[in-house]
Every structure is written in C-alpha cells, then in structure tokens.
Subunit: 340 residues, 2 copies
DNA sequence: GTTTAGCACTCAAAACAAAAGAGTGCTAAC
DNA sequence: GTTAGCACTCTTTTGTTTTGAGTGCTAAAC
C-alpha cells in the first residue's frame, strides 16, 4: 500500500517541522508553511488517515500530531546526501588545520568536530585490529575436556579464551588439529578471519570437527572485537533536547554512552553498509529510549579502519547528519591516504 | 578566632544534615536531632552568629541555613578515616573477584566500584610514564634561536617540543650542552625527573645556562604529563543530585568531565598528598560549579602509579568517600604487589 | 467525489488567588 | 545565658479560572 503524493508531501513536511520544533505539528501549520493551496480542513482529513495508517501519533485530542518511528523511517528512506553549505564546510575543515599524527588523533578530532557541528553526541570506533596478521594458532590442553586457545599475531598474544574439546581427543589428534588450524587460518589478517565461512573451506574429512573449528573461529572473532577503541564526545549535548529534560531519560542515555562495549556492538552489526540509520529501540535493542544512531564506515580499499557516528533523539536532523558524516568520511579517507 | 565547642557541634551537625537532605537546615531540626538540651531559640542565636562569621548562608529570610564552603572546609578538616561496615567492604570486594590482568584493568574496575559505592562520578588517572626511563636527550638546532628537544626513553621517542636557545650558541656549545643534559638527566626515570630541583644539582659553571636547563626540564615534565590515561565512570550519577537538576549545571559538569586533560591537571597539582579534598571553584579553578574533588594517590614504594578520585556536589558524603578511597587505595596496592 | 467553511468540543497550559506552613528575629521574662 | 512567645516573612502548595490552540464533524460549495 503506497501513499498518495499529497500524503507523502504532508508526512514529509510534518517530520521536517517536528525535527526542528519537537512540538506536535498542527494542520494549520502545515497548510501555512508547506501546502497553501489546500485548506487546513483537508489536511486534517489527510492527517487523520495517516494516523490510522500508523505514521502519526496524537499526544491528546486537542494537540497536533507527532511522527511515529514508521514516519521517521519513511523520512530517512527518502533522504539523500545533500551538499553542505560553504559555512558548514569551513566549520568542519578549520578543525583539521593542525597536523594529524595518528589514526587515534584523527578519531579524537573527528568526534569533536562531529559533535560540535551536529549538536549531538558523537562516537568513533577505531578498529585496532586492522592489518593485524594472525601468525599462529594453537590449542593447549588444560584438562581432559578443555583447551586454551593461544593466538599469536604480529602485534599481540591472546591467551584469554578457553573452549571445550571432545573428551576422547588424543594428544596426537590435537597436534593434527593444530596443524589444520594453522593451515586454514594463518597467516591471515584478523579482518579476513572475521568474514570466513567454515562451510566453504572445510574438507569432507574435517566435517566431524566443524563445531570445534567453529568455536576457534568464534574466539578469533572475539579477539578482533576486543581490539577496538571507542571514544565518545559531547554527551552533554543531549541535555539541550527537550525530550531529555526528563532526568531518567537523560540518565539512561548517559549510562548507555558509558558502556563502550555495547556501543561497539551496535556499530559492529552493520558491517558492509556505508551508512546506516537505526531509528529507536525497535531497530536496535541497545539504544537508549527514543534515540537514533547514524553510523558511517571509515575505510580505504576494503580495509575497515573503524566507524564514526552520532547518537541522539529520534527526531535528529538526519539531513544534516547524513551530509556531515558523508563529508567527514571522505575527509578522513583523504587524510589516511596522504599518510601513506 | 576559634569556635566554641557548642558552635562547633552545631556547625558539624548542620553540615552532616545538609549532606543528606540538600535542604536548608532549621534551628528546630538541629535541636531535635542533635542538641535536645538547648532550645531552638538558643540555637538560632548561635546560627545567627555562625552566619555572620561566614560559615552559613540563608537562602531567604524564612528559610533554614545552608553551609558555606568555609563550613565544608571546617567539616572535612575534622574528618578522619572511619572504618567501613562489613556490607560496604563486601560491596567493594565482590567486584574484584575476577583475575586482574593489567594496571589498566585495575583502574577500569576501580572506577566502576568507586562510582557505584559512592554514587558519584569517579575518575582514575593512570600514570603511564611510571617506570619509563629516559635514555637520551638531545637538542637539535632548528633555526638560529630555536632547538627541538628530542627525548628518547625505553618506550618512546618524543619530538614535539621546541624551545628557545641563545642566538650566539655555537654548534660546539650545543654539543657540550647535550653532554651535560645526558649527564644530568639520563638514565633516569621520568617520575624522578619530575621532582628534580635544578638549584640543587647545577654546578657553578652551568648557572649561566640555568634558564635553558629549566626549559628542558619543563619539557620533560610536559612529556611525563602527557603520558596519562584518564578514565571516568558514572557521569550519570550527577543527575541524581537535586543541585544538578538545573540543566545548565548538569551540562557544565558533563563538559568538564569530558575534558580529560583538565581533569588530569586537577589531579596533578596535589603531588605528594595521600588524600586531597578540594571544595568548590574557589579552591580549584577548573572544577565545575558547586563541585568538590576528592583524590587519593596510588603508589607503592614512592612509585606513583596514578590517582583515583571522585567528583561531585560540594555536599557529598565526605565521610564515606574518604573511607572508601582509603580502602580501595590499599586494595590496589595489595593487588599491584601480588602482581610483582 | 473532493474540498472547505464553520462551529462545538477537548484539553493542556497559563494565570491568578488563597491558604498553609516553615522558619526566623526580637522582646521580655526566667 | 537561656528560652517562651509572637509577629512577620516568604516559599510552597493547592485550587480555580481563563485562555487558546487544535481537532472532528457536519453541511454546503465546488
């Protein structure tokens, strides 16, 4: 079921309006500012229809309407990257004047700019495992049924993961398995290992051990996950939004922001997407109530260096956010290229 | 001018009360809860006297009194470390169950516990330069009057600092100076260098260059300063205090918390003190409005590993905070000792 | 069939008024 | 030096009224 053009226009206008005012939007306002050729009564009829279709919500009978999550989803799906104004561009670029010495430096600068320009809380996930090469994997038996997974890369040694192994596994078997593990998984970049699908690479004879290999792979993924550095900036921005004048909401928000691991997980899921918009809890369990998360990937030539993004109220200024993220993303890639 | 015993008792009771309620305290309340042997009228007279001495403030004529910063200073100066209850101790120690793998790990755990137990925002400064040994110092002439200070330690190379040198310095002179620098300052631990006093070690013949040496030393101190890792935890706690229900206050607080460098500076000043309490802006320019900072030093055998502390409203529960910091400080030292 | 003017109705928010009550300062007596 | 007593002050609470924005519906116009 598709919306009529007029309904689309009304809905879009209403969301546009709500994003700036955070107040219920009335039929009269839509008429005056967006659709002067129709009377407010007509628009009221349309609004009523949109409401029963689930796009709008009325806080109480004598109030205007506010967009539902469905409406926001409609809104962002229409969205394209619009070019920034010259002012906005210079506002961003004047922050990058000084020399940049490391990726970490870049990330910390970026979060500052991002938060300042969008008036939202910004998050950067730096993928420290990028380029790290796994050189050796070894299962070391601890007890009859348990083994330590020892992972040696060119930069680190990981020895914090224990998995279960079949009870009847002999030392010779274990040796063999270690051979296969190294054959299959080394030397390989950690980022590559993350994407490996065992079904594709396991020989028939190794199928019986698939669950064991699966476990090892899980450890490898775990390892690559841990090697992330998360920084946030501008948490205080949230207090400027009326929807967070409620203390409990604000508190919940801040608490989520502090749980870096959860933040990283939220970013992790949308691997592959250049730009990702998650609206409200329904789309991402871990988001604070009433929040959206817009993320972008930072990478050159298939190497992912991390992600950047902003988190804020569902009615954030997606247009601006998307454009700014796009611009900064390109900027970073340029900086990283110069580096090399 | 010293306070009479009764005044002391009244003042102490009032602060004690205010710390829990955050409300102006009335003469009647003090009488009922702390001084049943005097009438409220008598206490009123005393309160009036304490007010004119600057210990108390009255929000308006028909309200009780609230303690001034001076009163809090009086209060904490009386404070001693009181033993924790068994409940509090177990609340702390149950968090340290898992194995601890690194100092960083310790710090991150400690901030969590600290914030949870005190209901305040906790801060940890990890002194990464601890144990780092400066191996070589070299001045490299850039222009006639400028030189780069190159510092090589066992872990890092620092080359971001430029100082002025006398215009008439020949290359031979510079070589000599480099020799002296290395003679005086290497090989030494960075933490040692921080405390060096040039007056004590400079020979007569080097006096003329004292200011130059002073500059190099400043760079070394700068270097050791940079090598700090600051983590905070529980920023959201602040929202539970009525004094931060005002949005602007809360915002300001959060913004300060995000400026890690400033936080580090606040800790830096009280080198040498085991425990330090700073009450309000008057004592520490960089504190958020209406905040106090209680810090403790973490170290074994004169080696400073960093600091931990909490930041929160001036009327925080100093008794508890001080005891908890004391307890956790000792706990960390034990953990660090086991490590070695 | 679609649009719209008109009007009754709803409900939150603002404005106002009154009452309650907590606390003080002062005076006069103990 | 201490305290009972009381007038006075000022905030807080509570209730009431008013206002006005906005809707839904109906009936007429297009």
């Amino acid at each position: 079921m598709t919306l009529s053009d007029r309904k689309k226009k009304i809905l879009y206008s209403l969301v546009d309006d709500y994003i700036v005012t955070a107040e219920p939007v009335s039929s009269k306002k839509i008429q005056e500012e967006h659709l002067p050729d129709y009377s407010s009564a007509t628009i009221r009829n349309e609004l009523s229809a949109l409401e029963s279709m689930g796009y709008l919500v009325q806080p109480h009978t004598s109030a205007g309407r506010i967009p539902s999550q469905k409406a926001f989803r409609f809104y962002v799906d229409q969205l394209m990257v619009t070019p920034l104004t010259q002012d906005e561009i210079s506002a961003i670029e004047c922050h990058f004047g000084d020399k940049i010495s490391s990726l970490q430096d870049v990330m910390s600068k970026v979060t500052k700019v991002l938060s300042e320009v969008t008036h939202l809380t910004s998050i950067a996930v730096e993928d420290k495992a990028t380029g790290e090469v796994v050189q050796n994997i070894k299962l070391v038996r601890l007890t009859q049924g348990n083994a330590l997974v020892l992972v040696v890369s060119d930069k680190n040694v990981f020895k914090d993961h224990i998995i279960e192994i079949p009870d009847n596994l002999s030392d010779v078997d274990l040796e063999k398995i270690n051979g296969w593990l190294n054959h299959l998984f080394t030397p390989k970049k950690i980022d590559e290992l993350r994407g490996i699908n065992l079904d594709d690479i396991l020989d028939e004879e190794l199928r019986v051990l698939q669950s064991l290999f699966e476990d090892v792979l899980k450890v490898l993924r775990e390892v690559s996950k841990k090697k992330k550095e998360i920084i946030t900036q501008g948490a205080a921005q949230i207090l400027d939004y009326p929807e967070y004048s409620d203390k409990d909401n604000a508190k919940q928000f801040l608490q989520v922001i502090e749980q870096k691991q959860k933040l990283a997980d939220m970013f992790a899921e949308d691997n592959g997407m250049e730009l990702n918009i998650k609206i409200g809890r329904e789309e991402e369990q871990n988001l604070p109530d009433g929040c959206s998360l817009v993320t972008a990937k930072i990478g050159i030539n298939k190497n992912s260096y991390g992600n950047i993004g902003v988190i804020g109220p569902v009615r954030m200024d997606y247009k601006k956010v998307v454009s700014v993220l796009d611009h900064i993303g390109k900027l970073i890639e340029k900086l990283l290229n110069e580096e090399e």
